[in-house]
Amino acid sequence: MLKARVFSAKQAASPHALVFLEHRQGDLDSASLSALTAASQLGGQVTGLVVGSPEEVPSVVEKAKKLNGLTTLLHCASPQYTTILPETVSPLLEKLLSQNSPFTHVVSAHSSSAKSILPRVAAKLDVPAVSDITSLEHDAASGSTTFTRLIYAGNAISTVRASSSIPIKFFTVRSTAFAAAGAGDAAESEVKALDSVEVSDPPTEHISTSLTKSDRPDLGVAGRVVSGGRALKNAETFQSTLYPLADALGAAVGASRAAVDAGYADNSLQVGQTGKHLAGMKDSKLIVAVNKDPDAPIFQVADVGLVADLFEVVPELVEKLKQ
């Protein structure tokens, strides 16, 4: 055993990623499926981890074990994990990643939950973390992984290398940069239950969660986004104009900082650095702009521009899309 470890240290161990798979109401989050795709690109084994309450975990495991790209699926259930809190989940991850851990990478979506947990665990293990990556490349010979990520609100691309001196490389994944992993074709992964690590008297207690009810896709992962700015005038016209268009397109609704600040739209809809995803719009495949001002800067980046009053154009667009 000892010999094998010395050998592997010299040879650089082949990558083995641990992917933190998040779920809500029995379904895997699609952002986690993008994280799984990124983990698969490391070119080694991929183990999934499902953590949750005893009621939720079995049905999530049923779905997760069929995911393409997973070799092993670990799951851990405890009433303490009913709400995922960093203070209670971190000790489980720390245990999994210490003492002869086979894992070389820890991967998750750049979700509010995972980005609260991963850096906490990384710090405990004395390793850095890389946030919100848009691409990666693993060099098996040297054991180093190179990532790209956006900095300065998407105005620059940074290429960073985590060398083999970082034994476990933590990173979160920008979901729009990786397709979601599918399920079905591959052999089912090996499923193993883990004992929970109970935290007595946790310092943080969950009081309540209130989710904004919406049938529309989540802004962070939506394939299409309809976004409005200050020109929408007020909250009522914002909704009455944009929501039908979003529904006709099966799109999420976004809002500019100005629209959010003016109270037309909820903060959670904000597109841009301080909102949902950093300068996300600039990475879109197709940008369509409707603006009354022919000199509006958006026309410099839009693939299709229409100079017109949105209050006339958008309803017409909705009608014609329905045909």
């Binding site: 906490r120 300065y152 904004t212 109270g263 903060n267």
Partner: protein, 266 residues
């Protein structure tokens, strides 16, 4: 009769000096980073953290014993800071290094620290890790992306509403607690419910010049700030070029169809 409030609470606010959010940044020709010869100011999320600390003191009055602000970075960072602690290092360290430094600073505070309030991310590296890393190193409770903070100094707890994907979550955190601030506050400021982060008045700026600034080095604190990740290059993102304008909705729809975008029920 209420007993007079005891001075209970010590608040620490780590802040970062970053390129001003309004500056259009340029990648340097060597592709090692961006041109830093531009206007810098306090990271906007940290302004909210400072404002939140001041507001806690306004609400709780004498229960707040101290607010200390700390910055870790090049000597110029001290400009961002006109009170309390400055620590010199060049360039700005990685989040893990900052978290270790903050831990060392917290351990030096004779009266302890009850609440640490940080911005949820710096607008330069966009990492969003420091608060969580500090919470991990200290083993303290954490509330990230907080949009509402209610501190009860007697019970030694904070009730915090945080922004999560798809909604809000409320937590009760025991002291000592690490809080990172989100922007919802700004949203509320603009609705007139809260004040915007305030500008320092000239008398206050003069007073601030007299407040003690303690300068420390990484060596004095026994922390190693050597970067662990290697930045290979920094490049410009590909430029988008506009695809021109269409005359009416039908032409727009034709373009959408060409790109494979059709109505949901089509």
């Amino acid at each position: 009769m209420r007993p007079s409030a005891v001075r209970l609470l010590n608040i620490l606010v780590p802040i970062k000096r970053a390129v001003d959010y309004a500056v259009k940044i340029r990648v340097n020709p060597e592709q090692t980073g961006i041109d830093l010869n531009v206007k810098h100011s306090m990271n906007p999320f940290d302004e909210i953290a400072v404002e939140e600390a001041v507001r806690i003191r306004e609400r709780l009055k004498d229960a707040v014993k101290s607010i200390k602000v700390v910055t870790i970075g090049p000597p110029k960072s001290a400009e961002t800071l006109r009170t309390a602690l400055a620590m010199e290092s060049a360039p700005a360290p990685e989040p893990l290094g900052v978290a270790k430094t903050l831990k060392a600073l917290i351990e030096r505070q004779k009266e302890g620290v009850d609440v640490v309030i940080l911005g949820k991310q710096a607008i330069d590296d966009d990492a969003g890790q420091t608060g969580q890393m500090l919470a991990g190193l200290m083993g303290w409770s954490q509330a990230t992306f907080a949009s509402k903070v209610e501190v009860d100094p007697e019970q030694k707890v904070a009730n915090i509403t945080r922004e999560i994907d798809g909604g809000l979550e409320e937590l009760r955190c025991k002291f000592p607690v690490i809080i990172t601030t989100d922007l919802r506050q700004v949203h509320l400021f603009n609705l007139g419910l809260f004040q915007e982060p305030r500008y320092a008045s000239l008398p206050n700026i003069m007073k601030a010049k007299k407040k003690p600034v303690e300068k420390l080095t990484a060596v004095e604190l026994g922390v190693d700030l050597t970067p662990r990740l290697e930045t290979i290059k920094v490049t410009e993102p590909p430029k988008r070029v506009g695809g021109g304008k269409v005359a009416n909705v039908d032409e727009l729809l034709a373009k959408l169809k060409e790109a494979g975008v059709t109505g949901k029920r089509a």
